[in-house]
């Protein structure tokens, strides 16, 4: 019977009239006019697709998926000052967000205090919050029950310091560390590959990552110490298949580094999570999630010999694609975000941030942020897509794409292995080259009209759409700098010096850095001072510019 059907589909595929366009997804896979059973054999069998909540988790990591627990609606709620960000986050929670997330301003991201000369003009920038000292952390989390709400920090190179401030604040509030939940992005590998917010060379950075991982293992067992992120790779230009392959390869690297540092795989793997971007191509994106879950599960069980089924789970947070948004006819972005969000939900995400439509023009307004939040609520409550688990399983097209995505990822893993692994591939410029190539080729396709972007290269309007824009607070930077100078003046200076000396010594040796950092932040040693001291020991990284 199946064989007969196959023949009929091959027959009708040949009869489908083809236009002159070639149909390709963003990863460059050629898409056929029609898919049938033969496209998913011989891989098509029960064990590859399985059931939701069962190995290899192609259909999702939970048995009940959204019927029991909706994905976490986790919107970024950051504004320049810690207290404004605090108010914003509470407002988002009150409007129905179920998780919170903070991103940092550029100086904090680059390990510099607000009063650093290089920070001028960027304090509170990029929609992020300025964190210099424990005082800022205190204001940021004022009134938020740390033992009840999971908190995500979009923090990378400075994660050890942010984690230290978070732990110090919990201690101050008499909350046991083991009660803290949340996530530190803390994915240093993708910084070298794409986001470029690194300070030290890759190896000392990895040591700090492993220090935070070990610290969480020992004292904060419910906190996710790393969220392995493909989002930034994709924003820099990586195609969806490259995003998936590079992210998974980075994940395996953290697993190997953890094991090499003496941890057993099941002691930390269950707390690693992931972060994907959802691109414009609807089905390709869904296939990316399904393939990633399967690849991770297989590797964790077969290669890394994890016994705990929780170690096999590819748990993922998603954000819609900022780089797909256009400055032209910005309201069109509302539709893009909606389609992308729907795709992430059908892909089985655990958590979702929807972008605001004005992001290609400016930092979002409160109004556009609310609309982004409501988009998720409408998908969740009105569209009916959550009524059944993984509704697309068994679709010839989706399963074929999933298989293809999986197979292509293995090709990238081989290339990376040939280069000596992820860190060595970074040092050899592999990622910089591939990502720059993909970004350039995407731009060329748009300019040649081979890829349509509505409002940009088709259906163009010459009249400008006026939208309301958020105005940055012109006074904020001056106020932040002066309060920081004040804080620095009123500390126990001898203690600050002693703390920094201790950090310098620990950086030179093999011990975990976290206890010294917690000690230092309690004495109001600032983030910039700590990172500056670490740079003296570890040196600074400069990348070769490849474009």
């Amino acid at each position: 019977m199946i064989k007969q059907n196959c023949m009929r589909i091959i027959g009708s595929r040949e009869k489908v009239p083809e236009g002159k366009d070639s149909f390709r997804n963003l990863s460059g896979f050629k898409i056929m006019a029609l898919y049938g059973p033969e496209d998913i054999s011989p891989l098509y069998n029960e064990s590859e697709i399985g059931l939701p909540g069962e190995y290899p988790f192609t259909r999702g990591i939970h048995k009940t998926m959204y019927r029991q627990k909706l994905w976490t609606i986790r919107q970024l709620g950051s504004l320049d000052s810690p207290s404004k960000a605090n108010a914003r986050v509470r407002q988002l929670l009150q409007m129905g967000a179920t998780g919170i997330s903070f991103c940092l301003d550029m100086p904090t991201i680059m390990g510099r205090d607000s009063d650093d000369p290089l920070a001028e003009g960027e304090v509170g920038s990029c929609g992020g919050v300025a964190i210099d000292s424990l005082e800022d952390m205190r204001n940021l989390l004022e009134g938020i029950p740390l033992d009840e709400i999971s908190i995500n920090f979009v923090s990378n190179s400075q994660s050890s310091v942010i984690l230290a401030m978070f732990a110090a604040l919990a201690e101050e509030r008499h909350i046991p560390l083991e009660k803290l939940t949340g996530t530190m992005q803390n994915d240093i590998l993708k910084e070298y590959q794409a986001q470029k917010s690194y300070y030290f060379p890759p190896r000392p950075s990895m040591r700090l990552t492993i220090d935070t991982l070990t610290f969480c293992n020992d004292y904060m067992p419910h906190f996710n110490p790393i969220s392995i992120s493909g989002y930034h790779l994709a924003s820099a230009g990586a195609t969806p298949v490259q995003e998936a392959a590079f992210t998974l390869a980075n994940g395996f690297t953290y697993i190997e580094e953890g094991i090499n540092s003496g941890l057993t795989v099941d002691s930390f793997a269950p707390r690693l999570s992931f972060f994907f971007k959802v691109h414009n191509d609807f089905f390709e994106n869904i296939a990316k999630y399904r393939a990633a879950r399967r690849i991770w599960a297989k590797a964790m069980r077969e290669k890394y010999r994890a016994k705990d089924p929780r170690s096999w789970l590819f748990r993922v947070h998603t954000q819609t694609s900022g780089s797909s948004l256009t400055a032209q006819q910005p309201e069109n972005n509302i539709i893009r975000v909606t389609i992308q969000a729907l795709s992430a939900v059908l892909g089985g995400t655990q958590s979702l941030h929807t972008n605001s439509f004005d992001e290609a023009v400016s930092i979002p307004t409160a109004r556009s942020e609310k609309l982004a939040l409501r988009t998720q609520q409408i998908i969740a409550s009105e569209s009916g897509v959550i009524n059944t688990i993984d509704p697309l399983a068994g679709s010839y097209y989706v399963e074929a794409l999933t298989n293809q995505m999986e197979a292509e990822c293995y090709k990238y893993f081989k290339e990376i292995e040939k280069l000596g692994g992820v860190i060595s591939a970074i040092e050899k410029g592999y990622y910089a080259r591939i990502i720059a190539d993909s970004a350039f080729s995407y731009q060329r396709k748009i300019e040649r009209g081979e890829r349509t972007v509505v409002g940009l290269n088709k259906f163009v309007e010459h009249e400008e759409t006026d939208i309301e824009l958020r105005e940055a607070d012109p006074e904020f930077e001056r106020e932040k700098v002066s309060s920081l100078i004040n804080l620095k003046r009123n500390r126990d200076q001898a203690l600050v010096k002693a703390c920094l000396n201790e950090i310098r010594e620990v950086c030179q040796g093999p011990d975990n850095i976290m206890p010294s950092l917690i000690n230092a932040v309690k004495s109001y040693v600032t983030l910039g001072e700590i990172i500056g001291t670490m740079k003296e020991v570890f040196g600074e990284y400069r990348e070769e510019s490849i474009y």
Partner: protein, 133 residues
């Protein structure tokens, strides 16, 4: 080309932000169009950029800013160029720069702003036309 040499363009990312996709795409497009491109790399201060422009004897500087710091960085670079007597170097920019700020930037002497969605050919044409004068 009036002086018979290839046009030399410095592409730079001033400030702390590392979003370099646009800067790199533009750098490659200009190189492919036959210009000599010097990509200054990430995290450059205004003085580093101006010094590099002078050392490399460039015809134009392209600045990519996505962090919102354009109102601090452009004035600094323009005044440094003036100070060094090199105001003849053309400055253009791109990134996330709201249209309402363009007039202010152009009043400082910034030649043109190319934001999200700009065609790289438009940048090439602009440079060819403006540097011809």
């Amino acid at each position: 080309m009036s002086n018979g040499r290839k046009r030399r363009i410095l592409i730079a990312k001033p400030g702390l932000d590392g979003h370099d996709r646009g800067a790199k795409v533009v750098a490659r497009a200009l190189r492919n169009a036959g210009m000599e491109v010097i990509y200054a790399g990430l995290h450059q201060t205004p003085i580093q950029i101006v010094n590099a422009a002078i050392d490399e004897d460039v015809d134009a500087i392209g600045l990519s800013i996505l962090s919102g710091a354009h109102k601090t960085i452009f004035p600094k670079i323009m005044s440094l160029l003036k100070e060094k007597g090199t105001s003849d170097i053309l400055v253009f920019g791109g990134g996330t720069i709201p249209k309402k700020d363009w007039r202010e930037l152009k009043a400082l002497g910034v030649g043109e702003i190319f934001t999200t969605g700009s065609d790289t050919q438009a940048i090439i044409d602009y440079l060819n036309k403006t540097l011809e004068r």
